[in-house]
């Protein structure tokens, strides 16, 4: 029981990590909270459904992040850059509006009924872990989640571009005086962030279900994760996403229906304790 739960928690956390780290990266660079992130994830999921049923799941896994990165370019060029001088809350509200519009368009196209995607044959089986049958697909999500965290860490810490991203996140003015072009980095980060959201969308299809409320549910989750992690702190967000996944998974089993309230109670609890969030390991603020 417990090992299965831990694995489930890791699988869910992986999705949250892919989402929340993207949000935190954009926030670090641009000080903008992208409230449309949930809608991007939703588009990823529905596109994934279309491609998976038209071609196959593996094509969706490759194509959707590529297509979604176009949204990132648009986000940077049409929203973040022109609105650079507006207040961060105003920009956040605009992304929120954009999120609603995107979600509504998706609902227009696909209708309001939940859809499901089946896992590809290769991953549809289950394996024995600690004596219990466990679906391979969930392990697959966890592996992808872990890989993306490792890739992100390597990219941020071992490449020159990653170092520039860290520099701008910590000290935008010093970085600009040293000649670092934050606009170009922001384009890259936006693209990465939406691609990750798309990837999470594709992955969620065979695991949970695809429905019209998934954008709101995800953005609320992401916001709780980001606030708990300390606004803008990437590692804080990743850690908070892990906690969130575990609390949610174990809560569902041991606390039954009360578990939907747990994340919120956790949020309130942490804010009473530390109004600035957990925020360790070098947040942007």
């Amino acid at each position: 029981m417990i090992p299965t739960l831990i694995l489930n928690a890791l699988a869910v956390s992986s999705l949250y990590i892919m989402m929340a780290s993207g949000l935190a990266l954009i926030f670090g660079l641009r000080r903008v909270m992208n409230f449309g992130h949930g809608a991007i994830y939703m588009v990823g999921a529905y596109l994934g459904y279309t491609i998976a049923s038209g071609m196959n799941f593996w094509a969706a896994l490759i194509l959707v992040p590529l297509i979604m990165s176009v949204f990132g370019v648009l986000l940077e060029l049409l929203v973040l850059r022109p609105l650079e001088r507006r207040q961060q809350i105003e920009v956040a509200l605009i992304t929120f509006g954009i999120g609603i519009v995107i979600a509504q368009i998706v609902i227009r196209i696909y209708g309001g009924t939940p859809l499901s995607v089946s896992a590809p044959p290769l991953l549809a089986s289950s394996v024995k872990i600690f004596g219990a049958d466990y679906p391979v697909y969930r392990l697959f999500i966890t592996v992808i989640g872990l890989c993306s965290v490792v890739a992100l860490a390597v990219w941020l810490n071992a490449t020159r571009t990653g170092m520039f991203v860290r520099a701008v996140s910590h000290a935008p003015d010093v970085s600009s005086m040293m000649g670092i072009n934050a606009d170009r980095l922001s384009l890259l980060i936006s693209t990465l962030s939406t691609a990750f959201a798309g990837l999470a969308g594709v992955l969620v299809g065979p695991y949970l279900s695809i429905d019209p409320g998934m954008d709101v549910a995800m953005i609320i989750t992401c916001m709780i994760v980001v606030v708990i992690g300390g606004t803008g702190s990437i590692w804080g967000a990743i850690f908070a996403a892990l906690i969130f996944g575990f609390v949610q998974t174990f809560g569902t089993v041991y606390l039954h229906e009360i578990s939907v309230l747990l994340p919120y109670l956790m949020l309130i609890g942490i804010l009473v304790w530390r109004p600035q969030g957990l925020n360790f390991g070098g947040g942007a603020e």
Partner: protein, 331 residues
């Protein structure tokens, strides 16, 4: 809290009789409205519009006085509606006592939440308020509370007793409940206006402008904002009770993001520094959303409105008008 006395600028004092007279005339004329509308669609639209207007006033107040975006006003609105409905249904309270306790519940919950969220940064404040509304939406829909809250179907209730001379049963009639909604809007707007003009209002705005200087001027900067937040919760509770009484219904949808977004939109469009603008905004958006809703586009309309309003009129449609009236200088 030492003083809440009015301190108007000299120029405003001269104008007070004129504006006061005009306002009184409009207020009295409002009661005659049902005679012209003869109930029906327009009247219920107006009722809903004014209720949204009260919520918009709350959002505008917090934005203008505290510089914070209250993106979760639905929390207190919904709490009041549910408390009212539950007290009537499960505990047999009469309408007036249920309404009074519902307002108290809104006030207390806003006070407790305010005490936590007022300390965090503005962006986190916005996100937390939104999350709390979602918390409530999930809470009232819990299957185990179904007996009390009606679960995801919402809660129908039939109150008894009279509030301000109107029988609670009659309130389901849109024309009969109108005087209550109309005067409540005036009371809320009036109180917000008086607070804004009082020393307490100036103090709130001063904290918004420069919290550090306030501390260096010997002021406490935490409790005034918590109190303001609690007061706003109470006002949103008024809207919630009105909605509950007018429809005999409380539903999880009252807590939805869309409720909060519409109030926010109405406040920004109307202009957060005015008390007329947000109410007007509430009426206009309620009408527009109902029109677009008939075609199934209500959320799309909300989304597009958010983008356009923030992009082009972040300070409200009345703002350019005011600048014109003011002719550059302060009246």
């Amino acid at each position: 809290m030492t003083s809440a006395t009015l301190s108007l600028r000299p120029a405003s004092r001269v104008r007070l009789p004129i504006f006061g007279g005009l306002a009184l005339a409009v207020f009295l004329a409002g009661f005659l409205l049902p005679g012209y509308l003869e109930g029906g669609y327009l009247q219920s639209m107006l009722n809903n519009g004014f209720i949204t207007g009260i919520l918009a006033l709350c959002v505008a107040f917090v934005m203008h006085q505290c510089g914070l975006v209250l993106f979760g006003i639905a929390t207190y609105y919904g709490i009041a509606a549910y408390v009212c409905a539950i007290l009537v249904n499960s505990f047999g309270f009469s309408a007036p006592s249920a309404a009074a306790l519902a307002l108290l519940a809104a006030l207390v919950s806003a006070f407790l939440i305010g005490a936590i969220v007022i300390r965090v940064k503005p962006l986190a404040f916005m996100m937390i308020c939104l999350s709390l509304a979602e918390l409530m939406r999930h809470l009232v829909a819990l299957p185990s509370l179904r007996g009390m809250t009606g679960g995801s179907d919402g809660l129908v209730f039939m109150p008894e007793g009279r509030i301000l001379g109107i029988d609670a049963m009659d309130m389901l009639d849109s024309a009969r409940v109108w005087p209550l909604i109309w005067s409540a809007t005036w009371v809320v707007a009036g109180i917000f206006l008086v607070v804004a003009l009082s020393h307490f209002g100036v103090r709130l705005r001063a904290i918004k402008e420069n919290e550090e200087r306030m501390r260096f001027s010997g002021f406490d900067t935490y409790w005034p904002r918590v109190l303001a937040f609690a007061g706003v919760g109470l006002a949103a509770g008024v809207a919630g009770v009105l909605q509950a009484l007018a429809s005999g219904f409380a539903s999880p949808e009252m807590f939805s993001i869309i409720t909060s977004t519409n109030a926010l939109l109405a406040a920004i469009t109307g202009g957060v520094s005015s008390v007329v603008g947000p109410v007007l905004g509430g009426v206009i958006y309620t009408w527009a959303i109902s029109e677009f809703g008939a075609m199934g586009y209500s959320q799309l309309f909300t989304g597009i409105s958010v983008i356009l309003v923030i992009l082009f009129i972040p300070r409200g449609v009345l703002h350019p008008l005011r600048l014109l009236l003011r002719k550059g200088g302060r009246a």
